[in-house]
Amino acid sequence: MKHLLSIDHLTVQEAVGILDTATELSRVNDGQLKKLPTLRGRTVVNLFAEDSTRTRISFEAAAKRLSADVINFSAKGSSISKGESLKDTAMTLQAMGADAVVIRHSASGAAQRLADNQWMSGAVINAGDGTHEHPSQAILDAFTIRKHLGKGASDLQGLHVAIVGDILHSRVARSNVLLLALLGAKVTLVAPPTLLPIGIEKWPCNVTYDFDSVLPVIDAVMMLRVQQERMTELFFPNAREYSRYYGLNAERMRKLKPTALIMHPGPMNRGLEISAEVADSARSVITEQVSNGVSVRMAILYVLLAGSPLDVGSI
């Protein structure tokens, strides 16, 4: 494994390997020690050409806990805003000796493009590319589900997860469907027809328009953010109607199994897809997802960077 671009490229063994590594690293995070010497002398560049709070901070914390050097740069305030191309940016990073680039970009396939071309030799980690994929988020979601409901199993066999809301614009949904299916879970997507992408019938999951019908049978529910910034046309009549049909409120929460997990990748639109009461309830693992994110991203950096550098022969 040289890059992490898409869940599609992962095997079950690789996925379980990252989850197991994250489990051990989360013990490290729980204890007194917060810092390990493992990636000392390695440089990780956070290249964020699109806004992000959680993912960028999470990758930064993960890299720092493994003693890597972190260079952050975002589109605003860098030459990207002057119109520098991805290629020139990548060649600059190569010249500075980046061992890994964590890239968030509004264009689907940006991470793949960075990895496929010979612009730079380091590992590329996709931290969200347009509406395509967000693999590290999916891995941390799977990690959270396995921690609570895995019953000691290495995969998610037999669990049923619903992903609800704006599937059309969600890279989190695509990565999650692929990973949960890979790990043996059953996935049901819940969304209005206007917010489902074309070709959804080929995804390894079920689809329904009726949220209430799945509530009593699922083990975890993942609420997605309604991505108003990507909505250039009208996808539902108004926010109140969306909330009534697809929002998770206290009444719907009562219909869930008592053990069911409530998840949200953040940032939340409180009152739209999830009510404040549900988001702050004891069943919500939303803040835990954030802390698990650090362990999972440490595991990803460990797997990609700790071993022998793959370009040794070409120097």
């Binding site: 007194q32 390990l36 010497p37 700790a306 071993g307």
Partner: protein
């Protein structure tokens, strides 16, 4: 192939090491055993069991993974991280006995000392190994040794334990001529 230690030899060596640990530390009251995964962890459990029988009390026993502290990480493909389980008693102010199967270059133990430093500050750190095969690359010495096996660098020492390999045995093998 040459059997250096049989199942009985291993059992006797572990019993002797257990007694030596108790003698040197004047009992088990302050002792914490930490095995280095994978085989060291199983050896630690066995030593803890023997010591518990002698002393009539439970001995705190855990595991200490050193993967994240290795100095050769960049020379090999990534390794799986094994569990680190520190007993509830902690290691602060305790006499910690590290247990591993083979003492060779000493680099594993150096990593273990670094890993230990992250967990806490023990009163003393001691080292018990089933086999010391020589060829040290660092100034490290074991306090308790099951068997000294002077070996050549062309040979490899293979430790098998019932818990993992189905039987107890230490064999010396000559590496294949290349």
């Amino acid at each position: 192939m040459n059997v250096a230690l049989s199942a009985e030899d291993i059992s006797r060596a572990l019993t002797r090491i257990s007694h030596e640990i108790l003698e040197r530390n004047h009992g088990s009251a302050n002792v914490v055993l930490l095995g280095i995964p994978t085989r060291g962890a199983h050896l630690a459990l066995r030593v803890a069991e023997i010591m518990a029988k002698i002393e009539g009390t439970d001995i705190p026993c855990g595991t200490l993974d050193i993967t994240l502290h290795r100095d050769d990480l960049r020379l090999r493909p990534p390794r799986a991280i094994m569990p680190t389980l520190i007993p509830a008693s902690g290691i602060e102010g305790r006499d910690v006995v590290l247990i591993d199967d083979v003492l060779f270059s000493g680099r594993t133990i150096r990593s273990a000392l670094d890993a230990l430093g992250e967990v806490g500050r023990p009163k003393t750190v001691q080292l018990a190994v089933l086999v010391d095969r020589g060829h040290r690359e660092l100034p490290i010495k074991a306090d308790y040794v099951g068997k000294n096996l002077p070996s050549s660098l062309d040979q490899s020492i293979r430790v098998s334990l019932t818990e993992i390999d189905g039987r107890d045995e230490v064999v010396i093998e000559n590496r294949k001529q290349s």
